[in-house]
Each structure stands twice: as structure tokens, then as C-alpha cells.
């Protein structure tokens, strides 16, 4: 630990922390643009200048250093005993001296020389570092009288637009493509005040390579201004009109921490949230842009039953009664219950309880999205398992007996009379043998979020909910149990999955009385091995890692 004098504070910081981070830890803002904790530090924006104080032998005193230093590259370390300042400090640094304040004003003035200040039509307004820092540290007037540079707007790739006029050339986007995605699509063209971010182009301006990698969306997040803009979010909403909730991405088994930004009428965007061990600062575009189905007009909104081969909407009481009648008559040996790797631990735990305690069946299976491809990048991996909770669902469902998966599952299903299948995987197509087996089932109950090949075979369809509409936990492939949180309401009559299951259980005489997902997690922590610590309270925002 290094003992630092930071302005008027005396603080201890970990060796190796830079001044920007040390100040942030103690609630002091050191404005910066090019520095990003997940990237290298070129110190080119010159915004984070701070004033170190050093011992000056001729004067025998501690004086401000001759040059200001960039806070991002000034790393704090324990000094040897004979190099301590004032006998005790390892470093003395001021972030609020008059010199520092003047330097900040000057840099901000330069940054705005060519900046269009088109905040009224800029997507970034409201979450813009240039706006915020100018407001807090800058001048209110410009002394620049000349004509501003107007570099062209560019279409960089499938989801990213560049408003070059707003770019402050911090090079975060370039460094991201070099260091994290390793795909090197971005670079600088021209020089000096004509610096422009661009993709490789032929001499006549035709793109030779697009900003088209599965991590590309991150450059929009890290761009401190409104230069890089997501086409998906373009002109959709002002940031301050959206509500935010901390959650976890449902796109694959990595389980990136995210913030869901939403309004009453739907989810607007997903942004990565820092988790040191899982996703650091990043998430992939499949996850980021994959939320569309949540807002889809096609969402299942009412229970449906098959009448003369055609689906008809019905009400919950009717659908549930039809199901309970079938189930109460059935032979437990011939009932198969299939949970979903898209569902939460809570959903699957309740389903398992229902199967064991009420239906008395041992035939529990696991269903979910089909595996995709694994993509690896220098600092990120997108996993092939496209379900967020395979590990968790398997554990919850297998309480006692092994879970049926793959061939074993489909063999059981082929012998079953009644199958209750919870899916929740958007765009889940069926493979030929899966389809054949499901077609042969006498009575197929499907709980899902969108019409699919699975629901097409059902006798009763129950509308469930997506990750954005419920509380609960997911367990990722590395054993991290993390919280998802409800943002928007489920569409129409769709209901939380475990509530539907609990309702069925009760109608069949089961004793289940959960009110919140949190209560289920308490039951899980008591009854599922390894999950003792995994209560919602413990999990908090950053998750709990299961013992290996």
C-alpha cells in the first residue's frame, strides 16, 4: 500500500494504482478522455493533468513539480524509506491546484475548437464526457473565430456510424480494435487537425474492410463523445428518459454483466457493466443487439389451446384446467418435464419441485437454444453454448436424479404421453428427430416466449417471460451465480415462468407458496448443494462464485 497525499486527503492506495483511479476511489474526479481502464494508456488527450509535488534539494522543500503530469500514467508506488516526502508520504499530488484547473480549461477549449456542438441532435447528449467536463471544468465561451473543420460522416460497419465532426481523436476505438478484439479495423487517416478515424479503404474511397466483428459495439460505449453511434439506438431516446437496471446478458453462457436500459414500452439497449473476472468492460454484439425479441410484436401474449387442429387464444383458467385434468389422469412414468437453460435457477428449481413433489416423476430434461460457434478474441471469448444458465438449470433440475439431455431425453420423450416443455429460447428450430419425437407425444404443453417450431407442435401453449421481465439468477459456465432483474412488464397476459408452474402445482394439490424469486433462492440455498451462499442478498451486483 502506498500512502498518498491527494489534495487535502491522506489516503492509502494499492501499489500500481494510477492517480485517476486513486482519485476516483476517493470521490475526486480527474476528467479524462483517452484513458480507459481496459486499454493501454497513450496519454494523448492531456485532460487528466495533475500536479505532483516533489522534493527540490536546493530549496530543501517540497515544491510543485515543474511540469504537470498525466494522471493516467502517473502510477503510485511505495517509495523507499529515504525517499518519503515529509517523512511519510509516498507521493503528493494535487488534482485541484490553480495550475491544474487552468490546464483543464485550456485543453477543453482546444477540444471544442472544431467541435460542432450539435448536442441537440446528438445521441450522446446527456451521457457525454465532453458536455459534462466542459460544464464542470471548462469555459462558457469560445475564442475561436475561424471556420470549423467538417470531416465527413462515415458508415463504418453493420451497426456503427461515425460522426467525424464530433470525434476528439482519443483513439480509444482504435486501441480497442487492436488490443481487445484484435481485429484492427480502425485507424487514423490524415494528420494533425485533419486526423480522422477510418476503416481501410481503396484509393477511390471504397471500404476494403468494415468494422464488422462481434465486439464492434463496444467502441460505441467507450467513445467518450457522440462520434461513434450505434445504428440500433440512433435517435431512439434521450439517455435521461430511460430507466436502468443491472442485469446479466442472456445471449450465451459467459454471462456478461449488463445494464438494461428501458422505458415503459420496451427495452432500448443493453450496455456492458464492469465485472473484473467475467467480462471486464465488454460484451459481444450478439448479446448487445439480441434483445430485439423482448420487444417483438409476435410475443406470445395469451395462453393458446388447440381446437380442431387450430390454435385458439384462451384464458389462463381454461388453459391451466385443461392441463391439470390431463396431468391428474396421467401415469407418472409417462410424464416428462423439461426445464430450460434459458430460464432462471428459480424457474428451474420450482419446476423440479413440481415434478418431484407433485407429479412424482423422475423424468426431468433440459432444453435450450442450439449451440452456436465459439469466438475467441485476444481479450474476450464468446462461448458456444447460447444459453445463459445451462450450468444452473442442470443443477436445479437434477436434484437427486441426473437430468436427461440429448438422446436420452428424446428417447424418454418418445415413450411419454404427456410432456411439459419450458423453452424460452428465441428462434429455436427443431432438428428432424426432435420434431418427430415431439409430434408423437399425446399431449404437449409448451411454455415459451415466441411462436416457434416447438410451439407449433403443442396442444397447449403458455406465454412465459424473457430475462428482461423477471427477477432471478443465472449460473454461468464458470460457476458464477448472478442476478437478473425485472425491467419491463411482460406483454399481454404473459406470466413469470415459476409463477405459472407454481399455479399448476397448487391446482394439482401441491404445497408451494413462493411470493418472490428471492424466496426461491433461499430454498435453493438450503436444498441445492453448493448454493448455500447464493442468496439474492449475497449475490448483489457482482455475483457469487460457487466453490469448485
Amino acid at each position: 500500500m502506498a500512502f498518498i497525499k491527494l489534495n487535502d486527503l491522506e489516503v492509502e492506495v494499492e501499489d500500481g494504482t494510477n492517480v485517476v483511479e486513486a482519485a476516483r476511489l476517493h470521490g475526486i474526479e480527474v476528467p479524462h478522455y483517452c484513458y480507459h481502464p481496459g486499454l493501454s494508456r497513450p496519454a494523448n488527450c492531456r485532460m487528466c493533468l495533475v500536479e505532483p509535488h516533489v522534493f527540490f534539494p536546493p530549496a530543501g522543500a517540497i515544491v510543485p513539480d515543474r511540469q504537470l503530469a498525466t494522471g493516467c500514467t502517473t502510477v503510485l508506488r511505495t517509495a523507499p524509506p529515504n525517499r518519503k516526502l515529509d517523512g511519510k508520504y509516498d507521493f503528493i499530488v494535487y488534482t485541484d491546484s490553480p495550475r491544474v484547473k487552468k490546464a483543464r480549461e485550456d485543453i477543453l477549449e482546444f477540444l471544442l475548437v472544431h467541435h460542432p456542438l450539435d448536442c441537440p441532435v446528438c445521441d450522446q447528449a446527456g451521457e457525454c464526457d465532453l458536455q459534462d467536463f466542459t460544464y464542470r471544468h471548462g469555459h462558457d465561451k469560445s475564442r475561436y473565430l475561424e471556420v470549423k473543420n467538417v470531416p465527413p460522416k462515415k458508415d463504418l460497419g453493420p451497426d456503427v456510424l461515425l460522426y467525424s465532426t464530433r470525434c476528439i481523436v482519443c483513439t480509444r476505438c482504435i486501441r480497442f480494435c487492436q488490443e481487445v478484439s484484435g481485429s484492427n479495423e480502425l485507424g487514423l487517416i490524415h494528420r494533425g487537425s485533419h486526423d480522422e478515424i477510418d476503416i481501410p479503404r481503396s484509393h477511390d474511397g471504397m471500404p476494403l474492410q468494415l468494422l464488422d466483428n462481434k465486439l464492434a459495439g463496444n467502441v460505441v460505449d467507450i467513445c467518450p463523445v457522440g462520434a461513434l453511434i450505434s445504428k440500433d439506438f440512433l435517435f431512439k431516446s434521450r439517455p435521461w428518459f430511460m430507466k436502468q437496471e443491472k442485469s446479466v446478458c442472456a445471449g450465451c453462457s459467459v454471462g456478461c454483466n449488463i445494464t438494461v436500459e428501458y422505458k415503459e414500452d420496451g427495452v432500448y439497449r443493453l450496455k456492458p457493466r464492469f465485472h473484473e473476472e467475467i467480462n471486464q468492460h465488454w460484451m459481444c454484439d450478439d448479446g448487445r443487439l439480441g434483445y430485439g425479441y423482448v420487444n417483438s410484436d409476435d410475443r406470445l401474449q395469451l395462453p393458446m389451446k388447440r381446437v380442431d387442429g387450430e390454435f385458439q387464444p384462451t384464458h389462463w383458467a381454461d388453459a391451466l384446467t385443461q392441463i391439470t385434468e390431463k396431468l391428474s389422469e396421467a401415469d407418472a412414468e409417462k410424464v416428462v418435464v423439461i426445464g430450460s437453460a434459458q430460464g432462471t435457477n428459480e424457474d428451474n428449481y420450482v419446476l423440479q419441485q413440481f415434478a418431484h413433489e407433485v407429479l412424482k416423476t423422475e423424468h426431468l430434461g433440459l432444453f435450450g437454444a442450439l449451440p452456436g460457434e465459439e469466438h475467441t478474441f485476444p481479450q474476450f471469448t464468446i462461448e458456444a453454448d447460447k444459453n445463459p444458465n445451462t450450468a444452473g438449470a442442470r443443477k436445479m433440475l437434477s436434484n437427486g436424479t441426473p437430468v436427461l439431455e440429448g438422446e436420452a431425453l428424446w428417447k424418454k420423450v418418445s415413450e411419454a404421453d404427456i410432456v411439459y416443455l419450458v423453452s424460452g429460447a428465441p428462434e429455436r428450430s427443431l432438428e428432424a428427430e426432435e420434431k418427430a419425437v415431439l409430434e408423437s407425444v399425446d399431449f404437449l404443453i409448451v411454455q415459451d416466449v415466441l411462436p416457434s417450431e416447438v410451439t407449433a407442435l403443442a396442444d397447449v401453449v403458455l406465454p412465459g417471460t424473457t430475462f428482461a421481465e423477471k427477477d432471478g439468477t443465472f449460473t454461468n459456465s464458470k460457476g458464477w451465480v448472478q442476478r437478473i432483474r425485472k425491467t419491463v412488464d411482460a406483454p399481454g397476459e404473459a406470466r413469470i415462468d415459476w409463477e405459472i408452474i407454481q399455479q399448476l402445482a397448487r391446482q394439482l394439490g401441491g404445497e408451494m407458496n413462493y411470493h418472490f424469486a428471492g424466496e426461491i433462492s433461499l430454498a435453493i440455498s438450503e436444498n441445492v448443494s453448493g448454493y448455500a451462499e447464493a442468496t439474492h442478498q449475497n449475490i448483489g451486483d457482482s455475483g457469487v462464485k460457487l466453490a469448485e
Partner: protein
Amino acid sequence: MVEEKRILYEHLDVPEIHTFDVFRQHDGYACFEKAVADYQPDDIAKMVMDSGLKGRGGAGFSTGLKWSFVPKDIKPCYLCCNADESEPGTFSNRYVLEKNPHLLIEGILICCYAMGIETTYVYIRGEFTLGKKRLDAAIKAAYANGYLGKNIRGTGLNVDIYTHPGAGAYICGEETGLIESLEGKRGQPRNKPPFPAVEGVFRKPTVVQNVETLCNLPFIVGNGVEWYTKMGPTYGDARFDPPKPDPNTGTKLYCISGDVNKPGVYELELGLTCAELIEVAGGLRGEQVKAVIPGGSSAPILTHYELDTRLDFTSLTLAKSMLGSGGIIVMNETRNIVDCLLNIMKFYAHESCGQCTPCRWGTPWVRDIVQRIADGNGRKSTITRPKFGIAENGRWGDTGETEDIYEDLDLLESVANNIANVDTMTWNTICVFGIAVSWPAVSYMRKFRPEFEATIREGKLTTLSVEEATVPPEENYAYQQRIVPRELE
């Protein structure tokens, strides 16, 4: 009358000296052979330190000291020869490359021997096509004659030299910009520390040295330290007690251009005055000296009052200017200083690498302000303000008089100082290009303020007489602060 003192340029005019055979006939490579035969590598490093040799590329940093920073235990270590001579007004390296490239190779060999270096890169300005051709041919000849390559002349030394042409960027002359460019990246200077001596080419210790600096090495080794230190003055640094010797030893290749009768490169002992130099270059063309740029376009300008300033590293630093690359540009009474500044600012605005905020957007802004003034659109306020100057108590302060407010001159000074402050010598930029911009901008404007004011008042470029245009030294803030050097007995 001062005589030229030709050492580096001694054989410059010998026909065909760029060929190996002619160079050998003129004792070529003898100094290198002497170095290897008579001295240990550490002895050479010590000789260079004792010789007081200062880098000729611009910064004037002690070469021996630079070598002492190179960690001994990290290998490989590289030598980078900076031949990217692009400072306006500077053209001495070019003659070495074109006329006597073997001298540079000999210098490189001595440096490599002293520092245990096996690989040298020579970064040549792209426009020097003949220079590169000649150097490449010389390198080839040296390889053929066993002066380069493996086990040089049976000494066990291995040295390889690679030449690399620049692509036309001034900033690739800055040592870390050069290194980035050499590594195949955009020529953008690095943050320092670490300095190249510790972490340079391919993140390995690297000695970056100007062509002229390296060309001095054979003579230091060949003729001895004592002979070398006799040339040029050695001052005492008065901040220390007793004054620390501050050597300005050796000769300098002064490049004189502008309004002189015989512009060109002159090799002279360090320490002669501006006026003497103009004499050497055939005297002034025109009636009167108006201004002298002493060290390439980045250096603060000197007025006709300052012609007795000695052109060496220390004296010019104390006069708040610099020797820089030794590119001296003389201007006579017909020159308009606003126009000169505009010319220089156009160059810098074009050459900023654009990496860091103040320089990227400040430099073109400074150019635009000067352009506006030169176009006759400079702004002058209708109100006045208290005038600062020599006050009644004889010190700098409020004089009790009032002065007109020239808004664009205030703006020019403020913007330039925000890139790099010339009074406190602090900069907010990554490299010292920033100060190379604000130094001329502020010094021209302060020292020739009447000409700037007249141009704004008249609404067009207005050239005043030398006396009218120049701020007298006693009214000049920078001049006020200058310290006159003390020579060691």
C-alpha cells in the same frame, strides 16, 4: 575576421571522397582502427563524456551523459542515426550524407564499439535521394572491405547498418517519433519517460544520435579529448558553487540562409557571435539586420539588438533562445515579421502529428490567427488598459500609462502559451513540438510587436523600419530575464 575551422568538413570538397578508396587515402577509418586498437569501449565512452560533446540534433544534450543512461545488461541495444534533417533552415547533415558518407559510417562504428551495439538504423529524410544512394553505396563498400558485417577487420566486432527512408514528416525527426516510424507505425512521438536510452526501438535500449554528433566521434578519438576541448568556450554554471563547467566544445556546422551574400554551411568553432557569423557568410545582403533566427525555425528570434549573442548552446539558452539544429536565418530590413511568422506557422500547422490535443488543434489555430492578422483582419479594441513595462521602481510592473488593446495579439499569445508556456517553460503536450510552435509565435510577437500592431491598424501587411519595428531590449520582458553567461578562467 573569423576563420572557418574545417574538421568534419575537412575533406568535403575532395573529389570522389564518397567512394571507399578515396576516403581511405584520406586516413578514412584510421580513427576507428585506433579506437579498437588503443582503447576499451568504456574508455571511448569516457572520452566522449570528457569531450563535452553535446548533441547537434536540436536538444543539445550531452552525448556522454546520454550514453551513461543506457542499461548495460539489456541486449540487444540499438543505435539510431537521426538523418531526418527537416527543420527549416537546416541542411548540414545532407552534405555529410551526399559528400562524405563514410565519415558517418566511421562515427557509427565508434559508437557501436563503445556501446556494444551490433545493429544500427539510419533514418534518412525521404527527400534526400542522393544522400541515401550515396550512403547505401558507402555501406555496401564498407561491407565489401570488411568494415561492416561480422568480425570487422578481425576485431570480433559485428556491426550491421540498415538505412530507412522517412516518408516526409517533420515529426519523425523527434527521436521517439522516429522510432515509432522506424517500427512501421504512424510517426507519433511517445510519452517520456521511458526515454529511448532505456526503451527505444523494439522496446530495447537505443542510442539516438544526429549525423553531425556521430561525425564528431572519429575526431575526438583520433585527436584526443584535450585537442577537442580547446575548441569552443567552456562556461561556468553559476547556479552551482563553485560554478560547474558547462562545455560548448567542438565545431558546429552552421547553416546560414536568408539575407546574406554567401549562404551555405560553415564549420566554425562554437561560441562566435551572430554578427561574426554574418561576416563569415559574406556579410549582410541589404542595409540592416532586422532579425536572426539562431537555431532552426523553432528557435525564438533575435533582434538587431542581440547580434552580440554568442551562438553556442549555453549562451543562446540564457538568451531565452536555442542553438537547436544550427540553422541560422538572417532577415534584413525589407522583411515583414508578421509574414515570416505566418510562413513558419503554416509549416507547423501542417506538421503537427495530431496526437495530443493542445498541439493538434492549437497549432492550426495559431496559424489562423496570424493569417487573419496578415490578411488585415486583426482585431483591435476601442478601449485601452494599463500598460506594463519598466515601472518607476525600475522593475517590471504597471507603468501608469495606458495602451491600446490588440485583441488578436493577446489571443495569439494566450493560445500559443496554452500549447506550451514559454515563460515558465512548461508544456501540456507529449513532445516538445508544442514549444517549437509557441516559441516563435510568442517571441516574434513580443519582440516585433510594433509591426504586428501596425499591420492590424493599417489593415494590411505593414513593414516598419528596423528601429520602429523592434521592441527595445530594456522593454522586452524576455530580454529582461536573460542571464549573461560567465566564462571559466
